[in-house]
């Protein structure tokens, strides 16, 4: 069984034709994980019992001659900040090392209803704070294309698992780059969904106004199937909206593509620039109109993002106090000591850094200069996109200014690490959807093209992506 060949629809077809059972398929993936994950370190935890019982249920349905949903029996991996009932959910933090989820996140409920098989929980930067997957408290996920390079983050485990065929697809979360960057580094597709299109209920919050769950997979078609399955209004998430995915139907007018000049400026790796531009030229050859645009506020986006992200994160992490669950050290002298030792022991360096930054930005006397200012800039970033989408249908850019870098090369320089997010964070600030689509390689390392659309126009992205997919 050659696992890399499988798309969701092929698996569905094979299962229905009884070429193999869901259980056999799940076991094949577990074998693959066993053989490869000691090098890659994509998984934090395998959910074998759950997966096999799910697979048996699917097989039972098939043998009963029942209809099965498209995702039934399709093995996937889940980023370990998305709760799966009765399974550990650590967010790659010592704070939650032994935390067992008491409920299913809404996206998992939907996947389970469809019968998708959950193989395990994948590695991430602690609480999704990072762009390289090096901030995990437990392991560093390696890039399957070069084991000395990072997989990207924060959904590095999910991207590496898909890239190394340890699962058919994966779920990640994207707060500033976290689905797209690892997808770009690992050469798979990753969709950051429109804010509000997918429920955040049961997803450990990084920054509430920016977080979104998104799929990682190997084909546009797969991405579309998964997005369709997980999107929609959820009563448990007040920020989710009524939404139904519909395929984009092209009319006679060809789509116009905007190229933001600010995203091809100084600091971009020449090879990355070349590969991305070549992909855009190919699109132009297909009759799509290419137009240069400007997103003038994007130069402030990174600073704005790191204020809003850390402010919200500092508050979101306050619940981890050791009182009700999580790391809890006993026999401390007083309440303050208790808090200090739990939080000092539970959080890693990047989490502490972000808690401090965010607490500072929200403090009285600094609030106006930082948090409030950042919110104002956020409005400007939104305005930029709004104006741009009056002229163009889609925006294309690189995902990251450079390909995957060496493990350890940026860990002591958080600022240069933050620069990796420069093309991706404006999308989160504006709540837009964006896809990372692999379009080439440099020195054996994949390069992704970022395709951004207006709110809830994932269908336009996927429509054009399926064309590019065939061209490259």
């Amino acid at each position: 069984m050659e696992l890399q060949d499988f798309t969701i629809k092929q698996i569905n077809k094979c299962l229905k034709e009884k070429k193999f059972s869901a259980k056999e398929l799940a076991n094949a993936y577990f074998d693959k994980i066993k053989n490869t994950d000691k090098d890659i370190d994509a998984y934090l935890n395998l959910t074998q019992d759950l997966a096999l019982s799910q697979a048996e249920a699917v097989d039972q349905k098939i043998s009963n001659g029942e209809e099965i949903p498209t995702l039934a029996g399709v093995p996937c991996s889940i980023k370990d900040n998305i709760l799966v009932k009765d399974e550990k959910c650590s967010a790659a933090s010592k704070m939650l090392e032994n935390y067992i989820a008491s409920y299913d996140s809404s996206v998992i409920k939907k996947l389970k209803e469809q019968g998708a098989i959950i193989l395990g929980k994948t590695n991430l930067d602690e609480f999704a704070f990072g762009s390289s997957c090096e901030n995990s408290a437990f392991k560093v996920t390696k890039n399957p294309h070069d084991l000395t390079c990072v997989a990207g983050g924060s959904s590095g485990g999910s991207a590496a698992a898909v890239a190394s065929n340890q699962c058919c697809f994966a779920l990640g979360t994207d707060t500033g780059c976290s689905v797209r960057t690892p997808a770009s580094f690992c050469g798979v597709l990753g969709l950051k969904t429109t804010y509000g299109s997918v429920s955040r209920s049961g997803v450990i919050a990084s920054a509430s106004s920016l977080d979104q769950v998104g799929p990682l997979a190997k084909s546009v078609e797969d991405i579309e199937i998964i997005f369709n399955a997980i999107s929609g209004k959820d009563i448990l998430d007040a920020t989710s909206v009524e939404y139904k995915y519909e395929k984009f139907i092209e009319n006679n007018k060809p789509l116009t593509i905007g190229i933001p000049k600010e995203f091809f400026a100084e600091g971009i790796n020449k090879d990355v620039e070349k590969i991305v531009k070549e992909a855009i030229f190919k699109i132009e050859d297909q009759g799509f109109k290419i137009q240069e645009i400007s997103l003038p506020s994007s130069k402030y986006a990174l600073a704005c993002y790191y204020i809003i992200q850390t402010s919200e994160a500092s508050s979101n992490l306050a619940r981890f106090d050791g009182i009700r669950y999580g790391l809890s050290k006993q026999n401390e002298n007083d309440l303050l000591d208790f808090y200090l030792s739990n939080r000092a022991g539970g959080f890693g360096a990047e989490s502490k850094r972000r808690i401090m930054l965010g607490t500072y930005s929200l403090s009285s006397g600094y609030y106006d200069a930082y948090y409030k200012k950042a919110q104002e800039i956020r409005q400007l970033v939104k305005q930029d996109f709004k104006k741009a989408f009056e002229k163009v249908d889609l925006i294309m850019s690189p995902v990251v200014p450079f390909p995957a870098f060496k493990i350890g090369s940026k860990v002591n320089d958080p600022l240069s690490m933050y620069l990796a997010d420069i093309y991706t964070v404006p999308v989160n600030l504006a709540g837009l959807p964006a896809l990372s689509l692999p379009v080439g390689k440099t020195n054996g390392l994949p390069v992704g093209l970022q395709i951004i659309a207006n709110h809830f126009e994932e269908n336009k992205i996927l429509s054009i992506a399926s064309i590019i997919e065939k061209l490259v």
């Binding site: 900040n81 998305i82 709760l83 959910c89 967010a91 939650l96 935390y99 989820a101 008491s102 409920y103 996140s105 955040r200 209920s201 049961g202 997803v203 450990i204 919050a205 920054a207 509430s208 106004s209 009563i235 448990l236 998430d237 007040a238 920020t239 402010s311 919200e312 508050s315 992490l317 306050a318 619940r319 981890f320 106090d321 009182i323 009700r324 669950y325 309440l335 808090y339 607490t359 929200l362 403090s363 009285s364 609030y367 948090y371």
Partner: protein
């Protein structure tokens, strides 16, 4: 030397809703089992999100409308960040700069007390601390043995809580108490809160300063006041304390004080710390509330009668005196019962006598409820579903008095019987043979007996002493166990003794 006293109140009230503020857990303030009404959301488990309870929002808006507030068209929730074990999320979802209601007022006696704002937030859990190091309860109930410990109960965490802040318009303990009392009545009328102070469903905090000049004095906060009486006493004590300090040329220190119930004094709880920085910011998990005109109008149109409206109506409709009206205003359930009885009574009266009968019955029903029934309840709350006398039976009972079918003495006995058994008054009268003697012959027989045995009183009457007649009538009433009609007896005496 006179001092200017400035008082503002901060009043919290737990809202009466089916579920908590941001999750579907039951809102049950009477739940005794600790940590029973909890779920991943109100325990702040990872990944959980709040969803605002619309009923709670509606109740705060209703309160705002009753208190003449401006209702926000756009309102939002904010996070108030601080660490404490009773606060699961490490922040309380509250409202900072866009409260649901602003700029209202409430009239008490003849004064308008301004209301700065009313906002909605969530309550915290409850902490229980072991009394002392080394002194703890047995381990049989699962508590740590022999050590000092603290326990947290999260049943209350996430219960919707309304916070009302007044303008510093209050000038005495009496006014503070009156404001709080009137607010309690309003909250109960609107079915917004049970507002029981002893149960902590309504909590009053006082900010008070005293000054010789127009400039405000140093603010002192008094917390943990668990009854209206204590509110008044604490304020009055604090005015005295601060006045004495100023008289002696000393300074009032900004601090938080508590109330010592036994000593009846306020005492220092904690000195002013460096101002708390709660790092408020807009709650990103909850969208901004856009309150449309028709939404507010709908709430307004479903508004219950307010205490002031009831005062006016009871005076107009029933002609009751001030004290009776106040009794019914503060005893809402009993007042509703009262209205039912009066309306049932009308069924017994003919068209011609309606107007006169109504006036008389209104007073009769009120008197029996306020004195007799209140007495029979011996301090217990009136709960209509547990009250055995139906409004219909009560009305019939009043009719019997009104039509002189029973004397007031018999009436009291009948009422006790009705209260205990829920029986029909005419049945009770019949069974006990308490009906008035209708037979004139029978009555005359008793009268003659009384005349024979009381020749002295008869002589006195005949010599012009009117009081003697009263005495004779009394004798007949006693002999007949109250079943004679005193007016009739009087008449007969006059006739017989001519």
């Amino acid at each position: 030397m006179t001092y200017k006293v400035t008082i503002g109140l901060e009043i919290h009230a737990e809202l009466k809703t089916n579920s908590k503020m941001f999750c579907s857990c039951k809102n049950d303030p009477d739940e005794k089992r600790p940590n029973y009404n909890i779920c991943p959301i109100c325990m702040a488990h990872p990944g959980t999100l709040p969803v605002a309870n619309e009923a709670a929002i509606r109740k705060v808006i209703k309160t705002g409308l009753a208190l003449n507030c401006e209702i926000a068209r756009e309102s939002k929730f904010d996070r108030k960040n601080y660490f404490y074990p009773d606060l699961p999320k490490g922040y309380q979802i509250s409202q900072y700069d866009q409260p649901l209601c602003e700029k209202g007022f409430l009239q008490i006696s003849d004064r308008m007390i301004g209301i700065t704002r009313i906002h909605l937030e969530e309550d915290t859990g409850r902490l229980m601390h072991s009394a002392q190091e080394g002194r703890a309860s047995s381990s049989a109930d699962g508590r740590p043995d022999g050590e000092s410990f603290s326990l947290v109960d999260y049943n209350r965490a996430g219960i919707p809580l309304m916070e009302l802040v007044t303008e510093p318009d209050i000038t005495s303990g009496k006014e503070a108490r009156e404001f709080a009392q009137e607010l309690q009545i309003i909250l109960r009328y609107l079915d917004v809160s049970s507002a029981d102070m002893e149960k902590g469903q309504m909590r009053v905090e006082v900010n008070i300063s005293v000054s010789k000049t127009k400039k405000l004095g140093t603010k002192v906060e008094i917390k943990n006041l668990n009854s209206f009486r204590v509110v008044e006493k604490a304020v009055d004590f604090e005015i005295q304390r601060q006045t004495k300090l100023l008289d002696a040329g000393e300074k009032v220190v900004q601090e938080t004080r508590g109330w010592h119930d036994k000593k009846e004094i306020t005492f220092l709880q904690r000195e002013k710390e460096s101002a708390h920085d709660y790092r408020y910011f807009p709650e990103p998990d909850l969208p901004t509330l856009h309150l449309k005109e028709d939404y507010i109008i709908k709430i307004k149109s479903h508004m219950q009668e307010l205490p002031d409206q009831k005062r006016e109506r009871f005076e107009k409709e029933f002609g009751l005196d001030k004290d009776s009206i106040e009794f019914f205003v503060t005893n809402k359930d009993l007042s509703e019962y009262y209205e039912k009885v009066v309306s049932e009574f009308e069924e017994w009266t003919s068209e011609q006598e309606k107007a006169g009968a109504h006036v008389k019955a209104s007073k009769l029903v009120a008197n029996y409820l306020i004195s007799d029934i209140k007495g029979l309840l011996v301090g217990k709350e009136f709960i209509e579903t547990e009250f055995k006398i139906t409004a219909e039976n009560f009305a019939e009972f009043i009719k019997m008095i009104y039509k002189n079918e029973i004397s007031s003495k018999v009436a009291k006995m009948v009422l006790v019987e009705m209260f205990n058994t829920g029986g029909d008054p005419s049945e009770i009268v019949l069974q006990n043979n308490w009906g008035q003697i209708k037979d004139v012959g029978e009555l005359e027989k008793i009268l003659k007996e009384v005349i024979e045995k009381n020749s002295k009183a008869v002589l006195e009457y005949k010599s012009g002493k009117k009081n003697a007649l009263q005495f004779l009538v009394g004798q007949v009433m006693a002999k007949s166990r109250g079943t004679a009609n005193p007016e009739k007896v009087s008449e007969l005496f006059i006739k017989l003794l001519k």
